[in-house]
Symmetry: C2
Subunit: 169 residues, 2 copies
DNA sequence: AAAAATTACGTGACAAGTCATATAATTTCT
DNA sequence: AGAAATTATATGACTTGTCACGTAATTTTT
């Protein structure tokens, strides 16, 4: 019997419908589509990368800070910044200086050129957030991010603890 | 003046709090933490990669299907599968066969060995979903995925349409 | 004060995604 | 039927993200 005849369209469809309710499965697609949209908008707004945009934005909003601060705000690994910053410095977007108080830290500060790059991208990115707010009320955003909070709490649970709860089922 | 003294801890903290409500900013971290958790569990459950797990799971649940079907269910680019499948075939997890009905398609089917790899990982991954259900009711999961639906709808909107709605603000 | 632990950062290696482009097969249009 | 468009897959190039490990600086312990 050929494999063709073994394909069960209905069953495949049901599988897909089922997976629509699986948060773990949906996250990758939602994330990557969101990222894609961000990249497109940044392309229009001067060609910054996502990491660059986040960094300029943070520095603009909160002033000079360390690499650790940036990675904390952005909720990413510091290595992402470690790699992006020298490039950004070369482009003239930021200044970097070893901290006098703590020689391990590097303090990053926006330059005028960085500010100007920020200002090119900012209105477009603001438009995006506004467009989202046209579709989600403040209340809904809080509910949505509340779910993200709870989901993140779940993800914090150590793996062995998850596995040892079989009884609770 | 040294850069150290220009650091404003309070302002940085406020920035961070603000970003906690920004869905666009939160998604990357939530996604990658979820992925990390998945990878850890798979490591324990036999060492499958995420793509491999998803594929074995889908084939187990819905029977043989094409690469396109797999990528649709998994909501990812087909290239991910295109690259993973030859490896999975080499490991003996799947069979691949050109479709007789449509010579462009490749039909993928689970082998016994693939089934056995699936069965090693499955209980662990099921435990994870159960652990989630202990913290989110069915109702809440539906609300959560409902938000994901709406957010994805938003992401579907063409970029130029988002930018041209400035009036609506 | 010396030793041990922690923290900040840099860097190499890897996974999971994307897109763009190429090719072959199928379908649609004229 | 032939031409044109579409679809399925493969593959190269790239981004975002992780982790692990190394080094230097700081903090904590003894």
């Amino acid at each position: 019997m050929s494999l063709d005849s073994k394909i069960d369209r209905d069953r495949i469809q049901r599988r897909q419908n089922r997976e629509d309710l699986n948060v773990f499965s949906r996250l990758p697609a939602v994330y990557s589509t969101s990222r894609k949209q961000g990249q497109q908008l940044l392309q229009i707004g001067g060609g910054l990368s996502i990491v660059e945009w986040r960094t300029l934005w943070d520095l603009h909003e909160a002033g000079p800070m360390t690499i650790r601060d940036l990675s904390t705000i952005q909720r990413t690994d510091h290595s992402l910044l470690s790699r992006a910053l020298p490039d950004m410095k070369r482009k003239g977007y930021v200044r970097m200086e070893r901290s006098e108080e703590d020689g391990r830290q590097t303090i990053v500060e926006l330059t005028d050129e960085g500010r100007s790059a920020y200002e090119t991208a900012a209105p477009i990115m603001a438009r995006r957030r506004a467009a989202l707010r046209e579709r989600f009320s403040d209340e809904e955003i809080r509910t949505f991010t509340g779910f993200l909070d709870r989901f993140e709490e779940f993800l914090q649970i150590p793996v062995d603890q998850i596995l040892n709860q079989e009884t609770a089922e």
